[in-house]
C-alpha cells in the first residue's frame, strides 16, 4: 500500500496584477485586477514505503507548493492527498508526529543559541522520552559528524554545518516520511556530498520515505532511482531515472582523439560531426550503432590515439526537457 497517494491535485494562488509607476500604484489602492496563478495542475502519483523519490523541475514549477500541500501547510484548490492514511491539511497531531519538513532556504533552529537548545525544544514539542532522545541524537550526531559544534551558536556555523543540524532537528522524532526541499542549496561541493551521503545512508537504515527536491543533478543522480519531473504545475515524467536517459537520450557521444592534426573532410563520411578542433572530433551516434561505428573508425587509416564513448548527461536530458517540453524531448 502506498505511503503517499496524490490524486488530481491542483493549487491556484490569487494575485493582483500590478502596473509599474507611482500613478498605477495609487490607482491600485482602490482598484486592482485579481488574477490566479496555477501553481499545480491536476497532478497524481503514488509513493511506496522506503522510496526515495526525486522531485525535479525549474523554478516555479510547483515542487515546493506540492511539498507544502503534502505537509498540510497549504490547502489545495482541488484534488486529494493521503499521507500515511491522513489528509495533511487536517493537521492531525498523529500525522504531524510522523513526518518532517526541511527547507534548505529556511532556518528553523534558534539563530542565537547552540543547536542543542533547539533539539531540546523539539524534544518537548514531539514528546520524545529521555532515552529515545539521547539514542537518536547520538546516532545522528555520529552519522553527520557534528559532535564538536552542538554547543556553538547557530549564527556562527557554516551553511553546511547548519544544514546538518537542521537535519538532526527534523529527524529526532524518527519521522516515517521526510520532505526535503533543496537541502543542498548554496552548499559547496564537499558539503553537498556529505549531505547526500547522509541522506542515502539514513534512507537505507531507517526505510524512511523521502521526497527530495533539488536543482543539483548530482543529488538526483546519486540518491534517486525514481524521479518525478514537474513543469508548469504538471507532471511530465514519473519513472526510473535510467529509463529517462535511455528513452530521451537514445544517443551516445563518440569522441576520437588523433595523434596528429587532421582535415575535417576525412571524417564526414562517418556521420554528422558535433564537435571538431583538428586534433579531436565527436559524433552523436545511436546507442545500437555505437560499437560498429567505433570499430569502423578504428579500422580506417585515421591516426587514432584514443577513443571515448560517453553517455549524454542527465543534466542535458533534463535541461532539454525543460527547454523544449515533453513532446520534443529527444536529445539530438
Amino acid at each position: 500500500m502506498p505511503v503517499i497517494e496524490v490524486k488530481n491535485l491542483s493549487k491556484n494562488y490569487p494575485y493582483h496584477k500590478k502596473q509599474p509607476g507611482l500613478k498605477a500604484a495609487f490607482k491600485a489602492l482602490f482598484k486592482r485586477e485579481k488574477l490566479e496563478a496555477e501553481a499545480v495542475r491536476g497532478i497524481s502519483f503514488k509513493i511506496d514505503e522506503g522510496e526515495l523519490v526525486g522531485f525535479l523541475g525549474p523554478n516555479g514549477a510547483g515542487k515546493t507548493t506540492t511539498l507544502k500541500m503534502l505537509s498540510g501547510i497549504l490547502h489545495p484548490t482541488a484534488g486529494e492527498i493521503s499521507v500515511l492514511g491522513f489528509i495533511p491539511w487536517d493537521r492531525k497531531k498523529d500525522y504531524q508526529r510522523q513526518f518532517s519538513l526541511v527547507m534548505g532556504q529556511k532556518n528553523q533552529l534558534w539563530w542565537d543559541l547552540p543547536p542543542s537548545e533547539s533539539f531540546l525544544l523539539n524534544k518537548a514539542i514531539y514528546e520524545i522520552d529521555d532515552d529515545g532522545f539521547k539514542k537518536t541524537l547520538d546516532e545522528l550526531v555520529e552519522l553527520l559528524d557534528v559532535g564538536d559544534i552542538l554547543n556553538v551558536p547557530v549564527r556562527k556555523l557554516s551553511l553546511g554545518q547548519r544544514m546538518k543540524c537542521e537535519l538532526i532537528a527534523a529527524l529526532l522524532h524518527a519521522p516515517k516520511v521526510l520532505f526535503l526541499d533543496e537541502p543542498t542549496i548554496g552548499l559547496d561541493v564537499v558539503a553537498q556530498k556529505n549531505i547526500r551521503d547522509f541522506i542515502k545512508k539514513y534512507n537505507r537504515m531507517s526505510r524512511t520515505t523521502i521526497i527530495l527536491t533539488s536543482h543539483y543533478m548530482e543529488d538526483i543522480k546519486e540518491l534517486c532511482r525514481r524521479v518525478i519531473i514537474i513543469d508548469q504545475g504538471r507532471i511530465i515524467y514519473d519513472g526510473n531515472l535510467d529509463d529517462l536517459i535511455k528513452k530521451y537520450a537514445p544517443y551516445k557521444e563518440l569522441k576520437i582523439i588523433f595523434n596528429e592534426k587532421i582535415d575535417r573532410s576525412r571524417l564526414e563520411k562517418f556521420g554528422d560531426i558535433t564537435d571538431f578542433d583538428g586534433f579531436s572530433a565527436s559524433w552523436r551516434i545511436e546507442r545500437r550503432n555505437i560499437k560498429a561505428k567505433a570499430a569502423e573508425i578504428l579500422a580506417s587509416d585515421l591516426p587514432v590515439d584514443d577513443i571515448l564513448i560517453n553517455e549524454i548527461g542527465i543534466d542535458r536530458v533534463i535541461r532539454r526537457i525543460f527547454k523544449n517540453g515533453y513532446d520534443d524531448n529527444k536529445i539530438k
Binding site: L74, D112, L113, S118, L121, A124
Partner: protein, 271 residues
C-alpha cells in the same frame, strides 16, 4: 478532563521551554538585554508620571482619587506585561506570515493557536508585571481597605483581571489574524496598542450612552482594567462580574474560530 489537564500541563511546559530559550537568546547580547529591560521599565514609569500630571491639576478624575486611579494603571500594566511576556509572538504574526516562518509552526504537533501565541515570548516584560504589582500594592496601601474586605475584593479583582487578560488576548488575536489576508499587517499593531491604552482610563469617562454600550460589549475595554479596579476600591454593580466572564468566554471562542478561519487563507511565502 484528564486529557485537558494533560494538554494544559504540556502547554505550560512548552511555554516554559520557549521562554527559557528566548531568555537565553536575549541574554546572548547583554547590552541589548539591559537596554530593553530599562526601556520597558521607563515606559511603564511614564504611565505613572502621566497620572501624576493629571492629578496635579484635579483632585479626582471622573470620580476616582489618585490612589484609586493607580489601581487601574496597575491593572493595565499587568495586562500589558502578561501580553508581552506570554504572547509576544502575536505581535510577530505579520513577520511570520511575510517570511513564511508560519510554515514551521503549522507542521508541529501542537495546537496551532497555542503555538502561534507562545512561539516567541519576551521574558524581559515580566518586569512590567512586577512593576504593575508594586504599583497595585502602593495604591492599596493608601486606601482604607483591610481584613476580609480587602481579601475578598482582591480575590474578585484577580479573577476579573484574569478575565480582562483573556478578553485582551482574544481581541489581539482577532486583530492580528487579519494579517492572513493583508499579509503586511504592521498597521494592526497600533490598533491593539490603542485599545490597551484606552483601558487605562476609568469607565466613567464614557458619558455618552452609545459609547458606553460600545466599550462594554463590542469592544469591551471597560472589562480590562477599569471594572476589576471597581471591584477592588468601589461599590461595583455585581452583574459586571458575570458579564466580564461571559464576555471573556464569548470573545475567546470567537477569536479561536476566527483565527482558524483566517489560517485557512494562509498562502505561505515563496521559497
Amino acid at each position: 478532563m484528564k486529557r485537558s489537564v494533560s494538554n494544559l500541563k504540556r502547554a505550560i511546559l512548552l511555554w516554559r521551554k520557549n521562554a527559557q530559550v528566548r531568555l537565553m537568546a536575549r541574554m546572548a547580547y547583554p547590552g541589548n538585554f539591559f537596554i530593553l529591560t530599562a526601556s520597558v521599565i521607563a515606559h511603564m514609569v511614564l504611565n505613572i508620571v502621566f497620572m501624576n500630571v493629571i492629578f496635579n491639576f484635579v483632585s479626582d478624575f471622573s470620580g476616582w482619587t489618585y490612589r484609586e486611579a493607580l489601581v487601574i494603571i496597575a491593572g493595565y500594566m499587568i495586562i500589558d506585561g502578561i501580553n508581552w511576556a506570554l504572547f509576544a509572538n502575536l505581535t510577530g504574526i505579520t513577520r511570520n506570515i511575510v517570511n513564511g516562518d508560519m510554515d514551521f509552526v503549522l507542521v508541529k504537533p501542537l495546537d496551532t493557536q497555542l503555538y502561534v501565541s507562545i512561539y516567541r515570548a519576551d521574558p524581559e516584560d515580566w518586569s512590567r508585571v512586577v512593576l504593575g504589582v508594586a504599583v497595585l500594592i502602593y495604591a492599596i496601601a493608601g486606601l482604607n481597605l483591610s481584613g476580609w474586605a480587602l481579601s475578598i475584593n482582591l480575590l474578585l479583582y484577580s479573577a476579573l483581571l484574569l478575565s480582562g487578560i483573556v478578553i485582551f488576548y482574544s481581541i489581539n488575536l482577532i486583530i492580528k489574524s487579519i494579517s492572513f489576508w493583508t499579509i503586511q499587517g504592521w498597521g494592526l499593531q497600533p490598533i491593539t496598542e490603542a485599545i490597551l491604552y484606552g483601558s487605562r482610563f476609568p469607565t466613567g469617562i464614557f458619558t455618552h450612552k452609545f459609547v458606553r454600550i460600545f466599550f462594554y460589549t463590542a469592544l469591551p475595554i471597560a472589562f480590562l482594567a477599569s471594572v476589576p479596579a471597581e471591584f477592588l476600591v468601589k461599590l461595583p454593580d455585581f452583574y459586571l462580574l458575570g458579564a466580564s466572564f461571559l464576555i471573556a468566554i464569548v470573545f475567546f471562542y470567537v477569536s479561536r474560530k476566527f483565527f482558524y478561519f483566517a489560517l485557512s487563507h494562509y498562502a505561505s511565502a515563496s521559497s
